[in-house]
């Protein structure tokens, strides 16, 4: 597979520097100054997503995955976040762009689906009127035309009887239907980029499967770039072409989905895999949790941010405690930020981690 020696320099750096990609994020930093200090929610993050491709961003709470998506959409409250770096949407840099121009792109060229469809829809307006509103901001059409469009969309996302359901209020929909309606709303202007932030976390497992199928089908149909943000490795395994694992505001591992699951190279990814019981394997006697808790984003540990929780910190001298590991390509576009030597990573994965999963 991709178990090659580290190649220095940017030979085949597929994921982070794909210049043709529809969405390119480069050295993104999102910092929130607070009374207690600067919260470094996202620190030096680079990735890209092409049309028709899906990137899964995986991380725990506080890893910066949601902050990243809100930065792309320009949804941080003005004045609260300090954003630097580049977010290129079809070549246009969104960082520093006039807020009103970003607004015109929102909903039209990039759209978002949120975690909890009940709270994400306005309780006082009908589902239809909320979709119509989304369509009419960016398309100068009559209400009747927009309504027809809304009904078509509801039909497309699998709402039965859309002609009458279009006039229902969100509370009259079930959880799964609401998420379908949210998707219809997001797709109303045929966006080129769709960001789904924990789209199935609030749903039951049978409904989750339906929604994941729907997202997959719609992507094939609309050929949009999709970013799916989740804490659930199972969900990204279903959908993602590439996966980026985030920890403490940084990417720690980034590669194709197959690489992440078949030959993960970062101890944090190992930890995530060891923490989750899996239905597709023999039941293990014991889960292999990551010790400790995620760090404060105000006082990110020196050296590797993961070092206090890493079982292998210190394997390579005291680099883990003093030097921030560079996020680099270790072969075939597989990026990691870890001080472990290639042979150590290989050995630990083969002998210590994989057998216990």
């Amino acid at each position: 597979m991709t178990q090659q020696e580290d190649t220095l320099g940017g030979a085949a750096t597929r994921p982070p520097a794909d210049n043709g990609a529809f969405l390119q994020v480069r050295e993104l930093r999102v910092h929130f100054p607070t009374d207690d200090g600067v919260v470094r929610s996202v620190d030096d993050l680079s990735f890209s997503v092409a049309r028709g491709k899906t990137l899964g961003i995986v991380g725990e709470s506080g890893s910066g995955k949601s902050v990243t998506s809100l930065s792309i959409m320009g949804l941080h409250k003005k004045g609260t976040a300090k954003i630097t770096g580049e977010i290129l949407l079809d070549g246009q840099n969104l960082v520093g762009m006039a807020p009103d121009r970003v607004r015109q792109l929102r909903g039209k060229r990039m759209a978002m689906i949120f975690q909890d469809p009940l709270s994400a829809m306005h309780p006082f307006y009908t589902v239809g009127s909320q979709i119509i509103e989304a369509y009419r901001i960016h398309n100068k059409v009559t209400k009747a035309v927009a309504r027809k469009h809304a009904i078509d969309l509801l039909d497309r996302v699998g709402i039965p009887n859309p002609k009458s359901r279009v006039d229902d209020y969100p509370h009259q929909f079930s959880g799964g239907m609401r998420q379908r309606a949210m998707i219809a709303m997001a797709l109303s202007c045929d966006p080129d980029l769709l960001i789904a932030d924990e789209p199935t976390t609030a749903l039951d497992v049978t409904v989750q499967a339906q929604i994941l199928d729907l997202i997959r089908d719609l992507q094939a149909e609309f050929n949009s770039a999709v970013v799916i943000i989740t804490h659930d490795l199972g969900v990204v395994a279903e959908l993602a072409d590439d996966i980026m694992v985030m920890y403490a505001g940084r990417a720690v591992e980034y590669s194709s989905a197959a690489d992440i699951f078949n030959s993960p190279q970062h101890p944090y990814t190992w930890g995530l895999l060891g923490s989750m019981p899996r239905l597709d394997r023999e039941r293990t006697e014991r889960l292999q949790p990551i010790k400790g808790t995620p760090p404060s984003l105000i006082n990110v540990p020196e050296g590797c941010p993961f070092n206090p929780r890493c079982a292998y910190a210190g394997t390579n001298g005291d680099l883990s405690f003093t030097v921030r590991p560079e996020f680099r390509d270790v072969g075939g576009g597989h990026h990691i930020a870890c001080h472990l030597e290639a042979q150590d990573r290989q050995r630990i994965w083969e002998t210590e981690i994989r057998p216990k999963l």
């Binding site: 079930s174 019981p277 949790p289």
Partner: protein, 351 residues
Amino acid sequence: MSTKTETAAADRRLGEDLLVATDLQKHFPIRRGLLQRQVGAVQAVDGLTFSVKRGETLSLVGESGCGKTTTGRLLTRLIEPTGGKITLDGRDITHLSAGAMRPLRRDIQMIFQDPYGSLNPRHTVGAIIGAPFRLQKVKTEHGVKRAVQELLELVGLSPEHYNRYPHEFSGGQRQRIGIARTLALRPKVIVADEPVSALDVSIQAQVVNLMEDLQNEFDLTYVIIAHDLSVVRHVSDRVAVMYLGKIMELADRTSLYERPMHPYTVALLSAVPIPDTARRDNRERIRLSGDVPSPINPPSGCRFHTRCWKAQEVCKTTEPPLAELAPGHQAACHFPENTTKLTIDPTGSAA
């Protein structure tokens, strides 16, 4: 049906029945109209029969609205059953008053999902964990403080945390505090309602392991209520799959996950996303359409028939009884999977 003695003998590790629910029911009335007459009821729990054996972990799993949380609250008698019977260690606790229940609260304790909401923010950790001692007027050998500090160490916190407040802790640590509180009186049974679902993946594993360690150390019996089928498989000895207030299937862990009989269980297992990209395309999927129907007007006959791909006419009219189709494996289905048995017992076992 098949021999009960056989199953009991087959598994000696599990002791006798500790907590038994018989035809347990909970209906929440719906009132309407001028005089607020009862016009219907949410049949949250509708006739559950199961037992929890000493030292085992029984999980109740199902989607929202299946009644698993209500069941947990019934077992701990936080709410009053509408019908049926609950016995704890041979004693009928079905309709005990709050006062009569109090001494028994030492034996049965509950862990809640939300580690934020279930701890009083104005009390110190010491006061929270020490409360059960004070409320139950339990004498401790070296004083309450010492006992609390021992509990803190037991759940992996530092004794120095005694004087801190809940907000100073992370989600996982708060769940540990919650566990320490339930452990204070050395209960026999702990009912845990989604104990890890609000926690991050890496923290989930820590808490799961902690609960297992404590079970071994104190011979605890767990009733775990959860929706995550992977976690449930990891922690349970036996699993009950619930749907719309009924048990659809109840079996020991291995046979439930390897040979699920009820179509609903099959569909649930098939819907769980597998963290393996290789399985993405060649996986056999069973997709249920639609959502769970309302428990106010549950479907006739088998409650699952509206979403079941195997449903026939009989499923709409006749409710299949929960029957033992293999040793230790009960399912309520007219057309079960993974069984050599006849689909419907011709001798008429409709209990």
